[in-house]
């Protein structure tokens, strides 16, 4: 971990000798912090220990911050304390205020801030060295350029993802002619600037030019990605924010930063993979495919033919009878349920059904929310015990035994076309096989096709009953009607 200390040491030689014992203490504390991050992440992997894991990781962070404050290189504490206070206050308020439905935006924004901080560290160190009249060493230069690229892309990419999730920017993919060539030219510009810096390491203008290019690249990278693909994008940006921290670690010659960043990078990459698999898309097709553009055309094509198809509908009273007299019900919540804020009503319905002796399980598709595991958090907020939540692989064999599958605000993830119709744009995507249940109730506003504009064959099956209305009202009606079943 010598790089940074060597350089600071040139300025503070005498000082460092008298306080020499602090250096190993600092290094060992960093080692302890890195270990706490690893153990913390390990504990985050099981519901029983997850809270403790988060606590351990935060203790690691606290230790790392405190020991850094003892660094001999630091001469002024005012700036640092102001920064620590403002940042902590903003973070604490945001964490307290945010709604669980807004979790993807929150994590997106935090990813961006982390990336920005790492990029600023790279820029700051570069500035400090060149300002001190030193030739910026090659290892610092190369890693600073890399850190600025990853951090910059993470910042603006995350802000774009935030805008899309928050509805500030259109959620549909934005494409324009020569999109990929433009991106490639920008990337080439970045590389040329980067190589130029190798021969002219102290050219600040070029350094700021390539910083600007990395910010633009982040915007352009998220622009063509559709709203339905945001779980992948958020995961990928999560991974980037880790890599940016690693790059900052390379710049400063600090192993703990490298380790912590690599852990986050790995975790984000795993989640990205899981999300891609859950949508049967390759990462490349998510990033460059502009999904929804192609899907929309075939969507309208099938929509015309759907005019001739007929569906069956029920009202809340009949629905309540089907549910109340069932032996087992599987609830399939989708993002539509969360948007309608119906999760508490759904929990109430499940409680009432269980009182009637009905077995209730929840089937959670990996991309049911707007980020990995989002639906689980939303249901946990409504006090649904996690032991009732079943992953796709565990619940799919159970549908055959279920009397009723209750689909609330989910569409594409229960579309049998994904399994049966090779012409469907979502063909190959793993689905929750609700059509195998003895009967299915679908709560939906109308027969309009969903977000991706793809018609859903499930709605026209003989066993499927449509229950029209807003999720919250309909489920509340169901609760009242199920209650009456008991008293009747």
């Amino acid at each position: 971990m010598g790089g940074r200390d060597d350089r600071i040491g040139e300025f503070f030689m005498g000082f460092e000798m008298s306080l020499g014992w602090l250096v190993p203490v600092e290094q060992l504390t960093y080692l302890l912090a890195a270990s706490l991050f690893i153990v913390g992440l390990k504990f985050l992997g099981s519901p029983a220990t997850a809270r403790k894991g988060n606590l351990l990781a935060s203790v690691g962070m606290l230790l790392a911050i405190v020991v850094t404050l003892l660094d001999q290189g630091i001469v002024d504490y005012t700036t640092i304390l102001i920064g620590l206070l403002i940042g902590s206050a903003v973070g604490a308020i945001a964490a307290k205020k945010v709604e669980m439905t807004e979790m993807p935006q929150m994590v997106g924004l935090l990813n961006g801030f982390g990336g920005a901080a790492s990029a600023l560290v790279a820029i700051g160190e570069y500035w400090r060295l060149s300002h001190a009249g030193m030739t910026v060493p090659m290892n610092v230069l190369v890693t600073a350029v890399l850190g600025v690229l990853i951090g910059g892309v993470t910042l603006t990419g995350s802000l774009m993802a935030f805008g899309k999730l928050q509805g500030l920017i259109s959620g549909s993919p934005i494409t324009y002619p020569l999109q990929q060539p433009v991106n490639l030219i920008l990337l080439a510009g970045f590389l040329v600037g980067g190589f130029y810096l190798v021969t002219h390491p102290n050219d600040l203008n070029i350094f700021f030019d390539i910083s600007a290019i990395s910010l633009i690249l982040g915007i352009l990278f998220v622009l063509p990605i559709g709203g339905a693909d945001t779980p992948v994008v958020i995961s990928l940006l999560n991974s980037f924010s880790g890599l940016a921290a690693s790059a900052a670690g390379f710049v400063l010659g600090n192993d703990m930063l490298i380790i912590a960043g690599a852990l986050v990078g790995a975790s984000g990459l795993i989640l990205t993979q899981i999300m891609c698999k859950a949508m049967n898309r390759s990462l490349a097709s998510v990033l460059f495919g502009a999904f929804g553009g192609g899907g929309a055309t075939s969507g309208t094509a099938t929509a015309t033919s759907s005019a001739q198809k007929s569906h069956r509908s029920v009202d809340a009273e009949e629905g309540a009878m089907m549910l109340g007299y069932a032996r087992s019900v599987v609830v399939v919540p989708g993002y539509g349920m969360a948007v309608a804020q119906a999760q508490h009503a759904v929990r109430e319905l499940a409680d009432q059904l269980e009182k009637n002796g009905v077995e209730v399980k929840y089937a959670i598709h990996p991309v049911a929310g707007r980020m990995p595991g989002h639906m689980n958090v939303l249901l946990a907020e409504a006090n649904v015990p996690y032991s009732q939540l079943y992953d796709m692989d565990d619940i799919n064999p159970e549908f055959e035994r279920a009397d009723v599958a209750l689909v609330i605000g989910a569409n594409d993830v229960v579309n049998p076309d994904a399994r049966d119709n090779a012409g469907s744009p979502i063909y190959g995507m793993p689905i929750l096989e609700v059509d195998k249940a003895k009967s299915t109730i679908v709560i939906k506003r109308s027969m309009n096709p969903g977000f991706a504009g793809i018609d859903n064959e499930l709605f026209y099956k003989d066993k499927t009953m449509m229950l029209f209305g807003s999720a919250k009202d309909v489920v509340t009606d169901l609760v009242t009607n199920v209650k009456e079943l008991v008293t009747a």
């Binding site: 600071i8 890195a34 991050f37 690893i38 992440l41 985050l44 992997g45 099981s46 519901p47 997850a50 809270r51 988060n54 990781a57 962070m61 630091i74 504490y77 700036t79 640092i80 102001i82 920064g83 940042g87 902590s88 973070g91 604490a92 945001a94 964490a95 307290k96 994590v107 935090l110 990813n111 801030f113 982390g114 920005a116 901080a117 790492s118 600023l120 560290v121 700051g124 160190e125 500035w127 300002h131 290892n139 999560n238 880790g242 390379f250 600090n254 703990m256 930063l257 690599a262 852990l263 986050v264 790995a266 975790s267 990459l269 795993i270 989640l271 990995p372 689980n376 958090v377 996690y386």
Partner: protein, 92 residues
């Protein structure tokens, strides 16, 4: 020059493998808290930010450092607290 980069790369690659091993079997229920918790860890850049904000080499560097400390701290504190808030809700 190359020596320190290579030493860093060794650490980076090994830590990545540890990350893959540790996180690979996290159940979907915990994916969101895992992501926000990991996200808070990526705020570790605050360590670098503190050093840059405190060395007083130039006004610009100090300002850059201050901004970095603020952003990283939002990430750290916001990330850990919101993760805890979510995990509090998980009941068996």
């Amino acid at each position: 020059m190359s020596e320190s980069i290579i030493a860093g790369l060794v650490v980076f690659v090994l830590a990545s493998f540890i990350g893959f091993e540790v996180i690979n079997k996290v159940p979907p229920t915990l994916h969101t808290p895992l992501m926000s918790g990991a996200n808070a860890i990526s705020g570790i850049a605050v360590v670098g930010a503190i050093l840059i904000a405190g060395t007083q080499s130039s006004q610009v560097a100090t300002t850059i450092g201050l901004l970095a400390v603020i952003l990283a701290m939002v990430n750290v504190v916001g990330g850990f607290l919101v993760t805890d808030r979510m995990l509090q809700m998980f009941k068996k």
